[in-house]
Symmetry: C2
Subunit: 434 residues, 2 copies
């Protein structure tokens, strides 16, 4: 029987984060008790494969039946760090039905199927916390739900995927191409065997959906979010951008237009994409596997957070922050809003305005620059900088244009015109963060 | 009579922060209600001078009697932003006695006389929150109390005074001397008529005492803290440091040694001083009146926060974060620790180890470098870099030494030897942040 001064938990998942949590609960038991006046004990751990050899205390009781966690009356709270959506969802739903508080790191589940879970937690008056689901040890969930709660959040932009940022940092520092940097990241343990979730922007997109909800109190369908990853970024563009004073970063960005669409739904601008970030921005200086988030709020002004976005102990630190809130018996403040969340509409990506970096590989022949400049002018796009470099491959020249702000639609049309008129062997473009 | 869905407050102080709070409560009433399900209304405002003309809503009821706030049964919570220690302390004590929750921005009061106030809040089971007292809109109090609660904080270092940072940034960017930059800051409204609290490090020291308490759960006497300000920083040192790859910043630093002194008191290293910060550190890139804090924690790793440390709305944002927590009926978690705070001992400043920047103004004569190097060697101090510059004034040469880590005691003794042996016209030294 747990003592009354003990919070008894059921832990689902004994991988990187679950293992880190077990170690941290033991190593930092002193500070946890000083902070809360309570102990936290793990009664039982859900694992997928009971037969697997594990480096964990022999006293730990393992089970492969999730109802042994959800239905145990001794257990006060469940920690879900198994990932995936099926068992995790069943565990959380049944746990809430049995009156358990929930702490989860599952960004995919909360982004794609979060609303009914928040609804159930509300009905059951239970805590459902998820600090570890976005940006690891950075307390961004808490900051948005509580510290900035009296602000209208105007915009946020974040480096939310450590794997992608590690790859881009390596490409930048060592002039590597994408494939080499990815192999490197896999060897270092920063990238999974199947890296798609990270490098194609899906992980970042899951986190962005959560941030959008926490910042604006709006729900948006994950499936409709524009998502672009880093697979097609060339070493050449990283080098050319660097010369111009920018680093290329994979960003999740959201902006509350404070307007509504024709149906009265609040309009937000949101997406995941690689972009040029000026060296003078703190975001440009986020290296390796670190995460960072820059927020603009109407009262607080500009805020920047930087820290470890992944890893066993940083993630376990965030999970434990939530558990300590449960131990302190805080009231549920799950979504950060007292009322249900209205649905948001997304500004059509076509209509987003941004400055652009455009690189065109062209033959070093007369008239080419005139045709390109003509195609831009036709769409009302004005240029802030044009750099023609020395011939690089097959006698072709990388011509780089930096534009003033224009819509994505105008940019796409200018590019289509350039493709038809001068047939460049390659043309790429990226947004520039402002 | 306030409605049951309304949190009714008494506001003490209608200066920059109090005025900002009134404006923000009105401008952001919508988001406050969405976040908490409650309204916040100001029933009465304490001011020093009732006759003074003010730019505030005519409906606001003013009083110069603080008991009209503390003793009013309609009022749920008091916001104290009058500053100073006398009336503020009486207001908070009497407010707690009458069962009011307290939100304050008063770093001086909490640093110098905080413990009995926390004690009284605990006895009365009331919330005493103070997010606005350190680093303005940066949610550092919340982060340390809750988000990092399961960590042992190893160290923290912060730029905690916007006025000093503005002055140093101006000196760096425009090659100004201190007096000119201070005049400039006063004109811009960044410095008070009496700037001593800011530029001599006292404001930073107040905040450091609060951070030390929040991070380590230890109390330390403000009066014993080593404090050094920025009055004596020369434009020459800023320029020379910059050439070597450093910015000079006023820092508050604290490190938990995790050791105890002879009496069993936990030993911490803490102080306020200007230091050289490598350009590669995010802290070096904190410009103008911004604040920033870098934390190292055993599980979360490295965390960096950057934002507005002062100003009407950024500070009001932090005050409101606390008020919204009161509105959500959170349990008191005032110090961030369940138990009383033990007293800390400070590592003697003599024993601190650091790298040093030393500038000696010397005659350009043979043997001078030998004597200086000899004095350093005698104290076991080894050099990482020596730069002798061109002659600058009166035929004297600034000789700059960068040392490896050494104790302050050894450094002081080496400097005393140099003074006696070669009689330099000037010798200055600063710690280097690592």
């Amino acid at each position: 029987m747990p003592k009354p001064n003990t919070l008894c938990i059921g832990l689902a998942g004994l991988g990187t984060v679950g293992g880190g949590l077990i170690r941290l609960l033991s190593a930092n038991a002193d500070i946890i008790e000083r902070r809360t006046g309570r102990k936290i004990t793990v009664k039982r751990v859900l694992v997928h494969n009971l037969a697997k050899k594990r480096d964990c205390p022999a006293s730990l009781e393992l089970t492969d039946d999730y109802t042994k966690l959800t239905d145990d009356p001794d257990i006060d709270a469940l920690v879900e760090v198994i990932g995936g959506k099926d068992t995790a969802k069943k565990l959380i739903e049944r746990g809430l039905d049995h009156g358990k508080h929930i702490v989860t790191a599952n960004k995919a589940l909360l982004a794609e199927e979060g609303l009914p879970l928040f609804q159930k937690a509300k009905e059951q008056d239970r805590i459902l916390r998820y600090e570890a689901s976005v940006a690891g040890a950075i307390p961004i969930v808490q900051a948005l739900k509580e510290s900035l709660a009296a602000n209208h959040i105007t915009s946020l932009v974040g480096i939310l995927n450590g794997t992608s940022n590690y790859i881009l940092s390596q490409m930048t520092a060592n002039n590597l191409d994408f494939a080499t940097a990815l192999t490197d990241a896999t060897k270092m343990g920063y990238a999974e065997a199947d890296p798609s979730l990270d490098i194609d922007g899906f992980d970042c997109a899951h986190k962005l959906i959560l941030l959008l909800r926490l910042s604006f109190g709006l729900h948006y369908d994950y499936q409709k979010l524009p998502i672009q990853g880093i697979r097609n970024i060339a070493a050449l563009d990283i080098a050319l951008a660097n010369q111009l004073g920018y680093h290329i970063k994979l960003l999740g960005q959201a902006r509350n237009t404070m307007e509504v669409d024709a149906n009265g739904n609040p309009l937000v601008e949101a997406g995941v994409f690689p972009a040029l970030v000026p060296h003078s921005f703190l975001l440009a200086r986020v290296d390796g596997s670190f995460n960072a988030i820059h927020i603009k709020a109407d009262a607080a002004g500009s805020l920047f957070f930087h820290g470890r976005g992944a890893g066993d102990l940083p993630t376990a630190s965030a999970v434990l922050a939530d558990l300590l809130a449960v131990a302190r018996c805080e009231y549920p403040n799950n979504t950060g809003f007292a009322q249900d969340l209205p649905k948001a509409s997304l500004v059509s990506a076509d209509q987003w305005k941004a400055r652009y970096y455009v690189r065109v590989m062209v033959a070093d022949a007369p008239g080419v620059l005139r045709d390109i400049a003509g195609a831009m002018a036709e769409q009302g796009i004005s240029m802030s900088q044009v750099v023609q470099h020395e011939a690089q491959k097959n006698g072709e020249v990388p011509l780089v244009l930096m534009t003033h702000a224009t819509s994505q639609l105008a940019m796409d049309q200018a590019i289509a015109t350039i493709k038809t008129s001068i047939h460049p062997s390659e043309i790429v473009h990226f947004k520039v963060l402002e």
